[in-house]
């Protein structure tokens, strides 16, 4: 099984440790992982700002990098959702193949690798932030608005980690307020949303906040550091890879 590792641009530049954890985790699970060297960005920042017309170069580049693998896996629900919904190029056959075979990491581990046990160890109290695009877009977990059976792919995996205590905030799936360019265009509301998420996690006395998306964590980390909080952020991949 050949897995193409997609490391979104801001993770590549600012959170390389998340890329490393994802790669190591997939290799531990016996995947043959390749990292196509000319990958850049999924195009979401432009598309969500109304500039889908400016994503042609990204799309073409993405297809060039990821056409020769069985699966594409990324530690980001948001970027994966964008590709699934909006990747189109002149080569529609290749684009369609990618749209159908791209997975967010915990989704891939649950649905394709059928992971039932992990050698991981993380003896900490961790607050789980549910990232919206992974949840409501990729259906990584059930949603509080719907009357459906409850499940959570990230939570199920985290429960395999030895000595990890997971705590959910009271508003279990409320958005953190990152929202791409929203975080700067609507700065005051964005920060207020983030502060309120953090208050709930701090009330639970967690040591870490984790999520399937680094973008949410980057936003929360910015607020946590500004208020000199002791709470730290870790991507799900870093915890699942911890020993």
């Amino acid at each position: 099984m050949k897995v193409g590792l997609f490391i979104p641009c801001y993770i590549d530049q600012f959170y390389p440790q998340v890329g490393i954890a994802t790669l190591q985790l997939l290799e531990k699970l016996n995947c043959e992982v390749v990292f196509p060297l000319n990958q850049t960005c999924c195009g979401q920042p432009m598309a969500n700002s109304g500039f889908t017309g400016k994503t042609g170069g990204c799309n073409k580049n993405f297809v060039n990098n990821f056409s020769n693998v069985d699966y594409i896996v990324a530690p980001s629900g948001s970027c994966v959702l964008h590709i699934k919904e909006h990747l189109h190029t002149e080569n529609e056959v290749a684009a369609k193949y990618i749209r159908r075979n791209i997975y967010e990491l915990t989704e891939f581990m649950t649905d394709i690798l059928n992971v039932e046990k992990l050698p991981s160890y993380f003896p900490h109290k961790v607050g789980l932030h549910i990232s919206c695009h992974g949840q409501r877009g990729l259906h990584l977990s059930s949603m509080s608005e719907l009357v459906t059976p409850s499940f959570s792919k990230p939570e199920k995996l985290l429960r395999l980690v030895k000595d990890l205590q997971i705590v959910l905030p009271q508003r279990s799936d409320e958005c953190c307020g990152f929202g791409g360019t929203f975080c700067v265009v609507e700065e005051s509301v964005s920060v207020k949303m983030g502060k309120d998420r953090i208050n709930e996690h701090e009330a639970n006395q967690v040591e870490y906040i984790t999520a399937t998306d680094v973008s949410c964590l980057m936003h929360l980390q910015g607020i946590l550091r500004r208020k000199k909080s002791r709470v730290q952020v870790r991507h799900v991949a870093e915890i699942l890879n911890a020993i």
Binding site: V18, G50, C58, V184, S190
Partner: protein, 458 residues
Amino acid sequence: MQNSIKDHAALSEIFNEDEKRVNWHDETLWFVRQKRDKAVQDVTEWEQLREYGSQIKNHTLSSLDDYLIEFEKRATANGMAIHWAADAKEHNEIIAEIIRKNHIKQVVKSKSMLTEECNLNSYLASLGIQVIDTDLGEYIVQLRKEHPSHIVLPAIHLKKEDVSDTFHQYLNTEKGNNNPQYLAEAARQQLRRKFISSELAITGVNFAVAETGGFVVCTNEGNADMGVHAARIHVACMGIEKIIPKAAHLGIFLRLLARSATGQPITVYSSHFHKPRPGQQMHVVIVDNGRTRQLGRPDFRNSLKCIRCAACFNTCPVYRKSGGHSYHNAVAGPLGAILNPNINMRGNADLPFASTLCGSCSNVCPVKIDIHEQLWKWRQVLTDEGYVTFGKKWGMKALSLVVSSPSIYRISGKMGRWIMRHFPSLLANKTVNPWYKQRDMPDAPGQSFRTWYLKNKK
């Protein structure tokens, strides 16, 4: 409207100056969302009901003209007068004409967001006709010369202390008496006199039934009924999308509406109007005002399925933390953000961006409108139509250039991180960098993941 110069982001910033009040607003509306959750979790077939609601509305929209004409035929046979209004202006003029013909000086009006959309109150006031809003929340905001901040809970932005001050000023109640019962009683006494002395009552319409030519008005206060029963003329205003084919469909929509709106199993009053009483006049004004244009936009037509429950407002964290007036329109929230650009693209180009696209709105919608997807699509339309700032346009062009080329991307990333490490104050600046105002910058590591990969894995 009152806030037409500032956009949603600027108005939200002002709203967020008083954080305690934001917390209160957020918690109040979250409480309504929780009530809704509790009410829908008790209905095991909830998702099926939503699907029925959605399908009936989709079907109706595809034969809207037929159903409207059927409604007109039946309603006319029942003794109602049907009026067609192409836009807000015609709507207001039709109502003014009914009022003028009958020599009426004062009218009572129960909640109708359509009349807010059409600015009926100020139009009638300009003709010397006094309109009294009789929904308690609307009455409060009307006294304060404000607009509703929420389509179901018009005064949800106000605390009981604010209401007490307002009533003290306008109704001469005791200063500082914040007892809700006392305040409600004061309003009741005032409104009772207006109900009795008004000869014309305006109501909205929640559902108009094509099969029967009747319509249903839902309220919790009974104020629509009180107004209508005491007046010799009833004028009901409806958008063309309020039509449903059959009376049996009410069994679905009434269940969906109240649970979604407030977590009640049903509204306190669901009043069915079929024909005028002897001696009474009953008018229905059917309004387009841009709705057929929306119907003609394939990406946005299903926004017309909306039954105005406001569940999308209550669940939206952006709405809860920015307040209804920040949306500078009669209809705020995620719903307003997909409806208002249809009416005025330039004036409402900010609204589809007042969202993180979290998707909660679409999940609570009782008729399954893909609200967050329409927000995304409106962003594309607005950008294509040129409603975009110079800075954003060039910023996106530059970003596109960088990420379209692997080599430019890598060089830019490396340079960017180098600058962040060596000249942090360039970005750690609250005036030029909105991120930094209330958030620290992420670390800028010495090497990217790709560089690590080449060193360690190749």
